[in-house]
């Protein structure tokens, strides 16, 4: 029962992207087409689940002083693994994702979940947590990607949707459109859940452990 909660919290209430405001870089960069958003989301989910699994298994073995470098190496290992697989079996997706495939390594979501959850919990909850967060991330990528692709090119997943007489606005494919779409989506999600959108705060930040700023400014609700 509580396992279901671990899984669903990542989907809506604590959606890593739209609520906790982590992992913004890939959200803006790969969402020019919904298909790329889906691919990136699934790749990140895979890395997230695997790294949560391994870190949870090894939590008693890893000494606390080298905690972060070990997490980083494990995550980087899985990212390289996914990258090799994509190069071999789905090279077109690997080409579209470009350098952001390797940048999954420094995606705040993965390191944040490892630091906050996986190293303190058993294996099954960690895996479910990773799965939930990853799928929540994938959903938000698909949503932002779809909006940008439909408004920007009139296509969705490559299929032309908008009728011929509606001229697509190329602006949405440009970086500016990415910022704009994401801002609006976060605002809508915040409004729907009737919560004030968080400023990027200390909660999900992987540097929190050694950040003196966090202790000092926690009361001011400022950023790290």
């Amino acid at each position: 029962m509580s396992y279901m909660k671990e899984f669903t919290k990542g989907l809506i209430k604590e959606n890593p992207n739209l609520v906790m405001l982590l992992g913004m870089c890939p959200t803006l960069a790969v969402t020019t087409m919904a298909e790329n958003g889906l691919g990136m989301g699934l790749a990140t989910t895979f890395v997230l689940v695997c790294s949560n699994l391994v870190i949870s298994l090894l939590k008693k073995v890893i000494p606390s002083t080298v905690r972060l470098p070990c997490f980083i190496v494990i995550i980087a290992g899985f990212v390289t693994f996914v990258s090799l697989l994509l190069d071999a079996f789905l090279p077109s997706l690997a080409n579209s994702l470009g350098v952001f495939l390797s940048l999954i390594t420094v995606n705040c979501i993965i390191l944040g979940r490892a630091e906050m959850f996986a190293c303190k919990n058993k294996v099954l909850p960690s895996v479910l947590d990773g799965l939930g967060m990853g799928l929540g991330f994938t959903c938000s990528l698909i949503i932002v990607g779809s909006i940008r692709e439909i408004l920007g090119t009139g296509k969705w997943f490559g299929i032309t949707i908008l009728p011929d007489f509606v001229e697509p606005m190329t602006l949405f494919i440009l970086p500016a459109g990415g910022f704009f779409t994401l801002g609006c989506v976060i605002a809508i999600v915040g409004k729907l859940s009737r919560k004030k959108p968080k400023t990027v705060g200390c909660d999900g930040c992987p540097g929190r452990a050694f950040c003196k700023h966090a202790e000092k400014e926690e009361s001011e609700n400022g950023a790290c």
């Binding site: 073995v61 470098p69 190496v73 980087a76 290992g77 697989l85 071999a88 080409n95 440009l174």
Partner: protein
């Protein structure tokens, strides 16, 4: 002392295990396509130059432009070039260009493209690529209506990628000339 050594050892151990697994994965999944014609490429060749037996030409004794990856020929002696050109991204355009026997471009096809999705990738459009057919001298990309045979209008918001295709076309023309001269 042990207090300091143990974390470093654990880190080194984890790194070594992961690296070993990755090296194994790499060797299992790596496909070396440098000397062969892949399935996709074969389909493109047949689309541009018709059915036939295609093979890579290996005995080329003339200096070809750097961007030429492979020279492919078939039983009729048709020549196709696989060219990797820089568009917006370095090496973002992997093209197959078919040459007519008079040294002009017979057809252009995209093997793979890693340009900006939605913008640069718009050059992967038969309407644009066909504009290069028949060009036998240096192709130039222009922003307005083309004024001469060799001018091609760029795809909107894909100028760098269009210029990349043009540079590939020019390399193909130059390579064909060098090969003809050396015969």
């Amino acid at each position: 002392m042990l207090k300091y050594i143990k974390p470093v050892i654990v880190l080194a151990l984890i790194t070594t295990v992961i690296s070993t697994l990755l090296i194994a994965t790499y060797n299992l999944t790596y496909k070396d396509t440098s000397g062969i014609i892949t399935e996709d490429m074969l389909v493109q060749c047949k689309r541009l130059a018709g059915e036939g037996d295609y093979s890579v030409v290996t005995d080329i004794n003339v200096q070809l432009p750097e961007s030429i990856r492979k020279v492919i020929t078939n039983q009729n002696g048709d020549i196709l070039f696989e060219i990797v050109a820089n568009g917006y991204n370095k090496g973002g355009l992997d093209l197959l260009i078919y040459m007519n026997s008079d040294g002009s471009i017979g057809g252009t096809s995209v093997i793979s493209i890693s340009e900006t999705p939605g913008l640069g990738t718009k050059v992967n459009d038969p309407e644009f690529l066909d504009k290069f057919c028949g060009i036998s001298e240096k192709a130039i990309i222009v922003k307005q209506e083309p004024a001469s045979e060799n001018e091609v209008q760029a795809v909107t918001s894909a100028t760098y990628s269009s210029k990349g295709v043009a540079s590939a076309v020019n390399d193909a023309i130059e390579a064909y000339k060098s090969m003809e001269v050396s015969k």
